[in-house]
Structure formats: structure tokens, C-alpha cells
């Protein structure tokens, strides 16, 4: 009896669910890690693994089948050029799902799903993000200090927040 193996419907009709899964798989292949809810991560996992299997095969027919499923040709190129060769010696289990907290609003459990072996890429990404954040913080700080100095120079009677917009 095949009880309890129906998979995930995700509250969508067939076309909507297929679109969602194609979008998720394409994003994961391009970004190497995406954050989503646990059921979506689990539902997309077999599709990603099938795509990676196509990427490992690497022939024209496989490429056409991947292109029929993935949303962008960039994703197809990345799948066949970098991701397929990376998993050459591994038979399945290409993904990692780690639960990471709860969504505000509906309390759904969130998780990130990432390709194994993408730690280096992701660390570089995070490094870049944190540098950008630090730069942004420094710029805001500088702008605030300048605004404050200007407000002081104009007599200090005007409030610092309103001083800039009146000019």
C-alpha cells in the first residue's frame, strides 16, 4: 500500500505548484543557497537532484531536458559547467537543509537549502555583503554627522532632522 507517500501539494494547484518548484530550483542553482520554508525545501529537493543528474550526464539531450525545466539559460549553463562536474563522484544527496527559525506573520518554520560544496562561494558572498553593510553604515554615520554640523552652524535652533529638507 502506498499510504502517506503523496508528497507535498503546498496548497496550490498543479500549474501553480510546478511554476513554484521551477522557480525555486532555478534560484537554488544560480544562488547555491536559498532560504524558504521547510516543506518547500523538501518538495524541491527531488527536482534539484534530478537536474544535477542531468548536469552530470552532460550530453545534448540532457541539456535540452534541463532547459525545458529551468527558467533561465544562465541556470542551464551554470548547471552543466560548474555544478554537474562538482558532483561527479557523488551518487545523490547533493543538498543540505538546515532549519533556521520561524517566519514572522504565520509562524512557518524556515530553513535554508544549499548545494554541498558551496561553502566557499557562500562565504565569499557573505563577506561581500558584510563589507557592503559596513560601508553603508559608515556612509549614513558620516551623512548624519555632516547634517548635525550644518544644523549647528545655522544656529542650532532648527532641529537636526528637519534642517536638511527645508533647503
Amino acid at each position: 500500500m502506498r499510504h502517506k507517500v503523496a508528497g507535498w501539494k503546498l496548497g496550490r494547484n498543479t500549474a501553480h505548484r510546478r511554476s513554484l518548484l521551477r522557480n525555486l530550483v532555478t534560484s537554488l542553482i544560480l544562488e547555491e543557497r536559498i532560504e524558504t520554508t521547510v516543506p518547500k525545501a523538501k518538495a524541491m529537493r527531488p527536482n534539484v537532484e534530478k537536474m544535477i543528474t542531468l548536469g552530470k550526464r552532460g550530453d545534448l539531450a540532457a541539456r535540452r531536458r534541463a532547459a525545458a525545466y529551468l527558467m533561465t539559460s544562465d541556470a542551464v549553463d551554470k548547471l552543466f559547467d560548474t555544478i554537474g562536474p562538482r558532483f561527479g563522484d557523488r551518487n545523490g544527496g547533493y543538498l543540505r537543509i538546515v532549519r533556521s527559525g520561524w517566519q514572522k506573520g504565520d509562524g512557518a518554520e524556515k530553513a535554508f537549502i544549499e548545494l554541498l560544496g558551496s561553502e566557499k562561494v557562500l562565504d565569499e558572498k557573505r563577506q561581500k555583503r558584510s563589507e557592503a553593510r559596513a560601508k553603508r553604515v559608515a556612509e549614513t554615520k558620516k551623512a548624519m554627522e555632516e547634517a548635525e554640523a550644518q544644523a549647528k552652524a545655522e544656529g542650532g535652533a532648527e532641529p537636526a532632522a528637519g534642517g536638511e529638507s527645508k533647503e
Binding site: V98, R99, S100, G101, F112, E119, R126, R129, S130, V137
Partner: protein, 61 residues
């Protein structure tokens, strides 16, 4: 249709509910920062899971 014959006393109600209390989660200890965390999940305090920093935990400025 059958109906209740008598009203329940407050005591009877609260006696019945004495066993209805919710249980807390069983928490495990984060091996990195030693805070309590939910098992099988990334630590919400330091963002570590299985010996690797996996999440960006926002620092409050």
C-alpha cells in the same frame, strides 16, 4: 437529545484541567556558544550548526 442535568462546579472543571498543562520544549545546548537551542536547528544566538557558521546573526547596533 441528551443534555447536562446539572452544572459543573468550578472545582470539577479545574480538577479536570489539572492535567492539561503544556510542556516546554526539550532544548539542547549549542556546542559553540553554550546557549540553549532547539535540537536539529541552527543556533539562533550565534548562527552555528554542526561546527560551521551557517547564518548571519544580526548584531544590534
Amino acid at each position: 437529545m441528551p443534555n447536562p442535568k446539572r452544572r459543573h462546579s468550578q472545582r470539577r472543571t479545574s480538577t479536570r484541567r489539572a492535567h492539561d498543562a503544556l510542556q516546554g520544549h526539550s532544548l539542547s545546548e549549542c556546542p559553540n556558544c553554550h546557549e540553549k537551542k532547539m535540537p536539529h536547528r541552527a543556533c539562533s544566538k550565534c548562527g552555528y550548526y554542526k561546527g560551521r557558521e551557517v547564518l548571519d546573526v544580526e548584531e544590534k547596533s
